[in-house]
Symmetry: C2
Subunit: 289 residues, 2 copies
Amino acid sequence: MSQARIGKLVVIGTGLIGGSFALDLKHAGLVGEVVGVGRSRGNLERALQLRVIDRAEQDAARAVEGADLVLLATPVGQMDAVLAAIAPVLPRAAIVTDAGSTKRDVAALYRRHLADTLDRCVPAHPIAGSDLSGAAAARYGLFDGRKVVLCPLAETAAASRDTVAALWAACGARLVELAPERHDAVFAAVSHLPHLLAFAYMNSVLDRADADTCLALAASGFRDFTRIAGSHPEMWRDIALANRDGLLADLRAFRTELDALIGKLDACDGDALAERFARASAVRAGWGK
Amino acid sequence: MSQARIGKLVVIGTGLIGGSFALDLKHAGLVGEVVGVGRSRGNLERALQLRVIDRAEQDAARAVEGADLVLLATPVGQMDAVLAAIAPVLPRAAIVTDAGSTKRDVAALYRRHLADTLDRCVPAHPIAGSDLSGAAAARYGLFDGRKVVLCPLAETAAASRDTVAALWAACGARLVELAPERHDAVFAAVSHLPHLLAFAYMNSVLDRADADTCLALAASGFRDFTRIAGSHPEMWRDIALANRDGLLADLRAFRTELDALIGKLDACDGDALAERFARASAVRAGWGK
């Protein structure tokens, strides 16, 4: 789609997601210049070396001068400050989108800082997170076959939404649309809760006197179960706080399930344990097939 | 080692582990005949078709006549009945080993059923479990580079231990020796607890009204975190019951960690959350490197 060609793309937060988006659009010939914004000089220099970005800038307000599209790809906890900084200087025609892992809070930030240009704001969430982070983790093709959830505001113009959708489609992504509230409920359950459980589990192993022996003998089950415990601590603190109410409800529901399991094991109720395991196993074995 | 050549190998439980052990020894030319024992006719026929075994037998006592080595590769909950069945007819010279995921209970079973031939008993645990099961999952090379934990009894003869060690070494496995008590404590922490948490998590998702949307939007974090929730329900019921006291202690320690996390999130204590996440993330990112 011709409307998806972008003259100047500004990626604020030049990490795995922002960097991979830039690489895909460059490869597809859909972008003129990519300006990368970040707090870390070292990361920006790596992004330049790897040709993820064409120009580096540490000042977000200066970077967005003349921008056609701005992608906010920082941890969600930084987006308030970033939007406050760019709002006074953002070109009227610039589309602003994001890759935030939570959507109710980001939608509220658009309303607070960009109240006059909500037609140009397109909240979004590419489902391509990883335990890897930084510009060095960016790669062409990261979004191929992945889902991107768009959560347009009531005020978002169809043209803005379509431009962002076309760019993600050019990256090979499949688009899904959800209201911000439903997005946050679903991702509390399938992403935020497992991350917190994985962090908690790793800490419970590290608290053991025989932690070193445990880590030495742990195998593939441990490897996969804990992979997400290697994720970016600051990003996950921000997500947990941003989606706090839904996540607390899910943590408590999980705790109830855990208590029931402990009760069944304590009572040596093998039939009840096998029944719960079989229900989980049957669904998981068929998932994604 | 010449002592490791086995004339007649009897594999009781012809699934992923038992079948892969048989395939590796056949490939290495270290075994004459492999007799597979199982409860399921269909599984035994598949094992014959795939040449995992040379002969199928549903009666364990008949199978062990003339055996040189017997591998118990059933879920641990079946080993009491299997040992009771074979004990009266087992050749005096036969070595008996197992692939049970718990070791204190299996050591106790050897003492109960094979009290007069404990010199020939070698409790062991190959760390190569999977969410896959059955003869069709067996494959050559499964144990290459994997660890096998040997938990010899005080009465186990060095020659018996060495034969079993040599066979696993021929499969490419690396051998580790631990007392049964330490084995069970370590594997409660790094294997049994994560499996129970994965089962409980899957059930907490399935209990949601929006479970279908959740499963449709779940991505790679969910995929890896829940892989072990696809495991064999009966096998994991048996493991949970066999290692009940250690596992209950670990489940309760995890719940304490979880409660602390819920408390920090409830209090919006971002610094404390980030500190816990960073500790877990740093260790996990360096693990296995």
